[in-house]
């Protein structure tokens, strides 16, 4: 295994994050704080508690998940799309690195960045609302699993995209709506029957629900199903990436 190459790519990706610290860290933290102010104050004044949890605290796992999903996707998709766009991908393709090493480095870099970001948002949230984490191990497990899964997903988008517009398409049109409709800001028990059923088809629901369980021990769907679904997404992404690399799809002509 060419560990030096993995380290070189990983280090370069992390350096990029610190170079663009405003975009990578500060901007999501400000957005999250705004969510707290707007949702916490506006809606929180009408809904005081859900399942015995104050509304402000209730939305914390959903907010972290929202940033985790969007940032994992954007970090990883940009990391592989940019060299494709400027042409410097030639160096990666001509280097003695395997596909597995490329994935470990890029996805590892993207996931690390979003995990750090998730923890920063968690710390920011602690300034606004009292937080309890009942299952810290599972909280970290969900954080890592989700970051890795959606970094892989972002990597796939980055390889698939032929333009900056396509790069933004999936996060904007699919992921953000799914996150908002996936119980980040409410419990699905609050929805009318038919919408509750529809929401069960939203994969993000399982991520948010599982993550919230790790905080408060309460969830919309059972923790086993949440974990199972997260692992299923992970394996779907791994399968797609494996196919991309086997065929050279949009990388090697």
């Amino acid at each position: 295994m060419n560990l030096r190459a993995v380290w070189a790519i990983y280090k370069m990706e992390m350096a990029r994050a610190f170079r663009t610290v405003l975009q990578s860290i500060v901007s999501p933290v400000i957005s999250t704080s705004l969510y707290f102010v707007v949702f916490g104050s506006a809606i929180g004044s009408r809904i005081t508690e859900i399942d015995g949890i104050s509304y402000g605290a209730f939305i914390v796992p959903g907010l972290i998940m929202l940033s985790l999903l969007t940032q994992s996707i954007s970090n990883a998709s940009f990391a592989i799309y940019f060299p494709k766009f400027v042409g410097s991908i030639y160096e990666l393709l001509s280097a003695p690195v395997s596909y597995l090493e490329i994935i470990i480095a890029y996805v590892g870099g993207a996931a690390t960045k979003s995990i750090i970001l998730g923890l920063i948002i968690l710390a920011t949230a602690a300034l606004f609302v009292p937080l309890t984490i009942e299952h810290p191990f599972w909280m970290l497990a969900f954080l890592v699993l989700t970051a890795v899964t959606f970094s892989l997903f972002g990597f796939i988008i980055g390889i698939w995209a032929r333009s900056f517009e396509q790069l933004q398409l999936v996060p904007l049109l699919i992921i953000t709506p799914l996150t908002f409709l996936g119980g980040s800001f409410y419990s699905i028990d609050m929805l009318p029957g038919v919408w509750r059923t529809v929401t069960l088809f939203n994969p993000v629901l399982y991520l948010v629900s599982g993550f919230r369980w790790s905080f408060y021990g309460k969830s919309d769907v059972s923790i086993g199903i949440s974990l199972g679904m997260t692992v299923v997404f992970l394996f779907i992404c791994i399968a797609i990436v494996a196919w991309i690399f086997r065929t050279g799809y949009r990388l090697r002509t």
Binding site: N2, R4, A5, W7, A8, I9, K11, M12, A15, R16, R19, F82, P83, V86, G87, S88, Y90, E91, L92, L93, S94, A95, P96, V97, S98, G248, R252, T253
Partner: protein, 308 residues
């Protein structure tokens, strides 16, 4: 000694059905400077890209120092440095970071002293903290070379290395290429500047429409395919070339003061002696006489035209 790169039966057909390469067979000798010439779209970059692992071939085999580029891709690729035609660098990285990154990417342990030497050799040391985006075109080209040399390759591909580069930098690059060759690095360059191949290459390959048209020792190529020109400075200008000289390939300069006779220097009867006799008989006198060998450029153009 076996060749350092062996290309055997390599073809490339793109998804569109376009046949970029048709059955390429080529051996590159260890330590030589090989110039690959060809018009635009001939398949030069496709061939280089296949050897370097950027483009998948449709069929055939390629070995680098005996290592198959698919089965032993790690060893094969670690031996190769590539400087592509386009200036494609991550614009926001510093010179120092990007060259060290390249070294790591190719699996070499960090060696700051070596990277410093590479940057100094390419007059980039003063710019080591500069971001790539702030460098001039020539400096970016040097940076691309520094990245390719960062992992101490044994084979260096230079795809149009001096395109858009000023004369001074071109001279510097030629000197660098010669130094690398002295260190035992094999160099394969593609170029549009025929004089570059003429000045530097040990052997020349011509590729046209996806086929290798010719591979020849450069000096031998110049000798066998070269045409010679006999230049005659006339004492008094001619208005036209007399009819009696129609059997000679003669050209008259616009001012009528110079006659040029082009002939094949391999021919048994180049016709020089008879032309001079006939000129004397016709009373056409000349005050000076000169001969010129045709350049590699003319040889190249003739080959490509003949093949068209």
């Amino acid at each position: 000694m076996p060749s350092i790169i062996s290309i055997s039966g390599v073809t490339k057909t793109y998804a569109t059905g376009f046949k970029a390469l048709k059955e390429i067979n080529l051996d590159i000798e260890r330590g030589e400077i090989f110039a690959l010439l060809g018009p635009n779209g001939a398949g030069k970059t496709t061939l280089i890209s296949i050897v370097c692992g950027i483009v998948n071939r449709s069929s055939g085999t390629v070995t680098v120092d005996g290592n198959d580029i698919s089965r032993n891709y790690r060893t094969a690729r670690s031996l190769i440095g590539l400087v592509p035609q386009e200036l494609t660098i991550d614009a926001f990285e510093s010179v120092w970071a990007t060259v060290n990154y390249s070294r790591g990417l190719f699996g070499k342990p960090a060696d700051h002293a070596f990277v410093e030497k590479v940057l100094r050799d390419l007059s980039l040391w003063d710019k080591k903290e500069a971001k790539a985006i702030t460098l001039s075109g020539g400096m970016k080209r040097r940076l691309m070379i520094a990245k390719a040399l960062s992992h101490e390759p044994r084979v260096l591909f230079l795809d149009e290395p001096t395109a858009g580069v000023d004369v001074e930098l071109r001279q510097d690059m030629w000197a660098m290429v010669r130094r690398l060759r002295e260190d035992g690095v094999t160099i394969i360059l593609t170029t549009h500047y025929i004089e570059e191949a003429e000045a530097m290459a040990d052997r020349v390959g011509v590729i046209n429409r996806g086929e290798i048209v010719l591979v020849e020792d450069k000096a031998e190529l110049m000798r066998t395919l070269g045409r010679k020109r006999l230049l005659l400075e006339l004492r008094s200008p001619l208005v036209t070339i007399p009819e009696t000289f129609s059997r000679y390939a003669l050209e008259l300069s616009p001012d009528g003061n110079q006659l040029t006779y082009t002939y094949d220097n391999q021919s048994e009867r180049p016709g020089v002696a008879s032309l001079l006799r006939d000129l004397e008989t016709a009373g056409i006198q000349f005050r000076d006489i000169d001969t010129q060998n045709s350049s590699l450029e003319e040889i190249f153009v003739n080959l490509v035209r003949r093949d068209a």
